[in-house]
């Protein structure tokens, strides 16, 4: 498994979304693994999972009559958010002079998207942020980091943002 050739870099996937927690996770990862080494050993992939419009509207209620009209608006809104997230992530990288970056936006449920991407890129590590929910919130809202820690087939790194309020 020891690869010394430069084009056989290991792949690190960092999951990004709209939250502060994931930008913190990206910054932490860059600070500790990419800026301290003169030649980075990881190839960086930034992955954003865009929720599909139907799942976002479905939260409003199953019998939402005006759903058909709202869908295109919701969809374009989600696309804008995705573009902004990816842009933000690229900026964070370039501020630290990390340029060898692939970005990707995949539509679907974040949990499956992340685990599938691990398979696709044969990633050696997946980095996710964490909202730091307690047990109850986690049971109700679900936790992507939890799902990935259990189901991804590679090493998972969970970066939490230190609590600012006490």
């Amino acid at each position: 498994m020891a690869t010394t050739s430069s084009d056989e870099k290991q792949v690190m996937i960092v999951a990004v979304d709209d939250s502060e927690h994931s930008s913190y996770a990206l910054q932490w990862t860059l600070d500790h693994f990419f800026t301290t080494l003169p030649n980075p050993i990881f190839k960086l992939v930034l992955l954003h999972a865009k929720p599909s419009a139907t799942s976002a509207v479905g939260l409003a209620g199953p019998a939402y009559v005006g759903a058909a009209e709202v869908l295109p608006i919701v969809d374009s809104d989600l696309r804008k958010i995705a573009a902004r997230v990816v842009d933000n992530a690229k900026q964070i990288c370039s501020k630290r002079s990390v340029t060898d970056v692939i970005t990707e936006v995949v539509e679907g449920d974040p949990r499956n998207v992340l685990c599938d991407a691990v398979e696709k890129y044969h990633a050696s590590i997946l980095v996710v942020g964490s909202h730091g929910y307690g047990a109850i919130k986690r049971a109700v809202l679900g936790s992507v980091s939890d799902y990935c820690a259990h189901h991804a087939h590679c090493t998972v790194m969970i970066v939490k943002r230190p609590k600012t309020k006490h």
Binding site: T36, I158, K160
Partner: protein, 191 residues
């Protein structure tokens, strides 16, 4: 408060004014399982690469933690006359000695792995519930990163056997790396 059973020298590196590089202090939890040694090996191969050819001191410090579960024999009073079973002190002594020996063997093997990769390592032995001790130790030693192996249990086994990596992932406040066993070992897929 951790009450370490045996605390091998823990060097507090004075990071007072010298923070020119991000000093990485990582803690790796080790036990006798293959999974945790694989985690250490993985971390050494991929993370703790120290290009300190020109520095006199490396910027990576690894703390190897081994937690021995507390061995407690409960006293069961038996018999009409209330004659009680007392845990024989000889048994407790021999258990304690066996645990010490196993910790020493585990940690010496782990430190050798670190030394081979030219990474500074310190060993810590703790007693108690692995989940809580690892989380407490991580906070008290002020490390940046916790590395822990995972047995790759399915959901049901995890509910019965408990998972240290799961507990730590939820309760520790610092970034945690969960290293899964290599795919060749997963011959039976369990969900």
């Amino acid at each position: 408060m951790i009450y370490p059973y045996k605390l091998k020298k823990i060097m507090e590196e004075g990071g007072g004014g010298e923070e020119r590089r991000m000093k990485m202090k990582a803690m790796v939890a080790i036990d006798e399982s293959e999974g945790s040694f694989y985690a250490l090996k993985w971390a050494l191969d991929n993370f703790f690469i120290d290009n300190n050819n020109n520095n006199e001191e490396g910027s990576i410090m690894v703390y190897l933690v081994n937690v021995q579960p507390k061995f407690q024999q409960h006293i069961y009073p038996v018999g009409v006359a209330g004659a009680a079973f007392y845990p024989a002190t000889a048994v407790m002594e021999s258990v304690r000695k066996a645990q010490e020996e196993s910790s020493a063997a585990i940690l010496s093997k782990a430190s050798k792995m670190c030394k081979d990769k030219l990474v500074k390592a310190e060993s810590i032995i703790l007693n108690g519930d692995p989940r809580e001790m690892i989380c407490q130790a991580a906070e008290q030693m002020n490390v940046n990163l916790l590395v822990i192996g995972s047995r790759g249990l399915g959901t049901i086994k995890r509910a019965f056997l408990g998972s240290v990596s799961d507990y730590c992932a939820h309760h520790v406040k610092i970034p945690i790396v969960i290293v899964k066993p290599p795919p060749e070992d997963q011959t039976k897929k369990q969900h």
